[in-house]
């Protein structure tokens, strides 16, 4: 009896299951079609083999030549060559998982702390090979600062957050010098006015946008040559984003800035050049205007017009 009811009750299910299948069919088809498209795209690139546009620039400071990155067997960056000059803002764009963050982390060797990661090729900073044995990654990171996607102030006071870098690198000889560095950095990050009277309060108590500016202040306090920013505004509201974009504009007078962003508008607003990555390949690099008005590569065009992503 029981079994009969069971089998019968399962007879009852099919209608709804059919419904499910029906709703699923289109998406599956879409996925397949998409996959085919992507495979097609990859073939195209393999055919082309070369990055279009201009990977070289005047007065190059950071030079990456034929960089490959593997995570275990996953070939995340494929033969990327790119030059970055001393005073420019370059934006890295591309669909999720295409290797923008990975490439960025190569530039200050943050990939070292990932056990499975393996980097080959040459990257040099001001003519020095940063992956050579003699080069100290710790010293490198003082010269190539990094701002992360999510604001990550230390659970210390605002003052100590900014003073952290100068302290560990011995940049200040006495308290007065340290004070000055902290004030200057906060000033340049556009945060001084807001936190002047609360330097001893914890940095984690600030708003998200303030925290991100605190992180920028922390980074410029060690006086780096290059600043890497991995989606620095993705956790912020438009107003805080605008402030940080203004800040990047000012900072670009003194630093080379490499910014990863998912926002085409942001790339257009802040950067002088744009590099478009796709599935680990650097597809196109050029002046920002040129990329957005007249892209050379079909994939770039598809991406900026919103057909991939």
């Amino acid at each position: 009896m029981a079994r009969m009811t069971e089998s019968n009750s399962s007879d009852e299910q099919p209608p709804s299951m059919e419904l499910d299948a029906e709703t699923e069919v289109p998406t599956e088809a879409a996925v397949a079609a998409n996959g085919a498209q992507l495979a097609l795209a990859e073939e195209q690139i393999v055919d082309i083999g070369e990055t279009v546009g201009n990977v070289r620039c005047e007065d190059p400071y950071v030079v990456a030549e034929n960089v490959n990155v593997f995570y275990g067997d996953n070939h995340a960056i494929k033969d990327v060559t790119l030059e970055i000059s001393k005073k420019e803002v370059i934006a890295l764009i591309g669909p999720s998982g295409c290797g923008k963050s990975t490439f960025l982390r190569c530039l200050n060797r943050m990939n070292d702390s990932i056990e499975t990661a393996r980097v080959s090729g040459d990257i040099s900073l001001g003519g020095q090979d940063i992956y050579s044995k003699e080069f100290d990654p710790v010293a490198l990171r003082a010269r190539v600062g990094m701002v992360f996607q999510k604001p990550n102030p230390f659970p210390k006071s605002i003052y100590d957050n900014v003073a952290y870098g100068p302290r560990i690198h011995g940049l200040a000889n006495d308290r007065a010098e340290l004070d000055e560095i902290v004030h200057n950095s906060l000033e340049r990050a556009g945060l001084l006015k807001e936190v002047k009277d609360r330097m001893d309060e914890p940095g984690t108590g600030l708003s998200g946008g303030q925290q991100q500016r605190l992180c920028i202040a922390r980074t410029i306090a060690v006086n780096p040559e290059v600043i890497l920013m991995d989606e620095p505004c993705s956790a912020l509201d438009p107003i805080a984003t605008a402030r940080i974009e203004d800040l990047m504009d000012e900072l670009s007078e003194d630093y080379a800035i490499v910014i990863v962003t998912h926002s085409m508008q942001q790339a257009a607003r802040v950067s002088g050049r744009v590099a478009y990555f796709h599935l680990g390949l650097l597809v196109e690099v050029d002046e920002t205007d040129k990329i957005f008005t007249n892209p050379q590569h079909k994939l770039t065009e598809d991406y900026i017009t919103g057909r991939i992503g």
Binding site: A2, M110, V138, M146, N152, F154, K156
Partner: protein, 450 residues
């Protein structure tokens, strides 16, 4: 039987709405009607069964006593107990003290008969109740019966009952300790207990005994506990913390996967084993080393016990610190590394300060564990209640004294026995405070990053 009830209930629910095709007209899935019936079948029967098993012996014994001759009914309760014991033994076929007379064997016979009868009634009753329950449930099944809600209510009640067992037990223990301690304080003033410097709990059992002063100053016990705990923490905190730092930040995946389980083995060793390790290996070693340095070392020393206890606590400290360190978001690590700090700078300047509250909480929990530890101290630290801060002398702790107070023969309501409860109460209060404090620190810290 309740399994059968399950199927019956389910099929009825389906039948009621006119077959499985109309299953959606039921309020709940058919299975819930099944459970509903099964519960009705099972619960009342189980309740009766339980009550019966609890009450049966008393009722049977009372009936046996009723049947005894008047002269024996008039015996004092103690003797009557003895007699009943004899009867039960006789009935079970065991050895019996005293002679077996006709009255006794008669009573044993009746005892057996009554027990058998009771079993039979019980069987019939439970089966009947089960059937009745199932029948009632069966009648109550309607398409609009909210079977699912009912079943879930009952499940909820059972969960509540289960969790309250532990709580009530704790409350019961605390209350009984509290009442006994109050009785103790009626005999010995609280102030003497808390501030007295002399511990010598031998009270005279007979008035003419000598050498039994009966003083209950607990201070030497608490200083002894404190001394050993301090030594233990002196060992466990640095070692445990460094272990945690290494495992969390420096070790490769492979080392970690081997070392962590090994540490957990250390935590799993019974304390008795640590105890004789302390008494037979460490204590003589401490003594020999001490003597070669020209120090006077007792064969049972606070140092030996403290050292071994420290080793025992290492896994606790290291695993709690490990948790605290791992709970620091990796964004902190990246941020520090990205500013050009070395690994050790990252550790000492960013991660440890961020993890500190969690580590402190872990250490507090470890302290309360050390205070409550008994076995190692019994075996390695001795029983002498010395008031000393010298780690080479024998000391004793609160827990050890509780043990020694309660082993051996003594009257249950003597001051000596009751002192154990007072000590237990003190110990309980101290560890409770430490635990609450430690746990709240740990919890507060966890919330900080969520």
């Amino acid at each position: 039987m309740s399994v059968a009830a399950f199927y019956v209930g389910r099929s009825r629910s389906i039948a009621l709405v006119g077959g499985p095709k109309h299953g959606t007209e039921l309020h709940s899935l058919p299975g819930y009607y099944g459970y509903f019936t099964a519960i009705w079948c099972l619960l009342p029967a189980l309740a009766v069964l339980l009550a019966w098993v609890l009450l049966e012996p008393r009722v049977v014994v009372a009936m046996v006593i009723q049947g005894l001759p008047a002269e024996q009914q008039a015996l004092s309760p103690g003797e009557l107990d003895l007699l009943i014991n004899n009867i039960q033994n006789l009935a079970a076929g065991d050895a019996v003290s005293g002679t077996v007379d006709a009255v006794l064997s008669d009573a044993a016979q009746r005892f057996l008969a009554l027990t058998a009868l009771s079993r039979r009634i019980l069987a019939i009753l439970t089966l009947g109740l089960g059937g009745l329950g199932a029948a009632i449930a069966w009648r109550r099944i309607r398409p609009d019966l909210r079977a699912r809600n009912r079943v879930e209510q009952i499940v909820l009640l059972m969960l509540i009952a289960a969790s309250s067992i532990a709580i009530f037990t704790t409350v019961g223990i605390v209350l009984s300790v509290l009442f006994e301690a109050i009785r103790f304080f009626q005999q010995v003033p609280v102030t003497e207990f808390l501030f007295g410097l002399n511990w010598s709990p031998q009270t005279a059992i007979r008035a003419d005994q000598v050498g039994s002063s009966g003083s209950f100053g607990a201070v030497p016990l608490f200083t002894g506990t404190l001394l050993i705990t301090a030594i233990a923490m002196f060992v466990a905190v640095p070692v445990g913390l460094m272990t945690a730092i290494y495992l969390a930040e420096y070790s490769s995946h492979r080392v970690r996967s081997i070392a962590k389980p090994l540490l957990e083995v250390l935590a799993g060793i019974p304390t008795v084993v640590y105890g004789f390790f302390a008494a037979l290996t460490v204590a003589p070693w401490v003594r020999r080393t001490g003597e070669s340095l020209g120090l006077e070392v007792a064969s049972e020393s606070a140092l030996a016990a403290g050292l071994v206890m420290g080793i025992m606590i290492i896994p606790l400290v290291s695993s709690l610190s490990d948790d605290a360190i791992n709970a620091v978001p990796s964004a902190m690590r990246d941020g520090a590394l990205g500013l050009g700090s070395t690994r050790s700078e990252t550790m000492t300047r960013v991660i440890l300060p961020a993890a500190l509250p969690g580590i402190v909480g872990g250490v507090l929990l470890a302290v309360s564990r050390a205070i409550g530890e008994t076995m190692i101290v019994v075996m390695a630290a001795g029983l002498a209640a010395n008031l000393t801060a010298n780690p080479f002398e024998a000391v004793t702790t609160v827990t050890v004294q509780i043990v020694t107070l309660l082993v051996g023969d003594q009257e249950f309501d003597s001051a000596k026995t009751l002192a154990a409860f007072a000590l237990g109460l003190m110990l309980f209060v101290v560890t409770l405070i430490l635990n609450v404090f430690g746990l709240s620190v740990v919890r507060k810290y966890r919330e900080q990053y969520d």
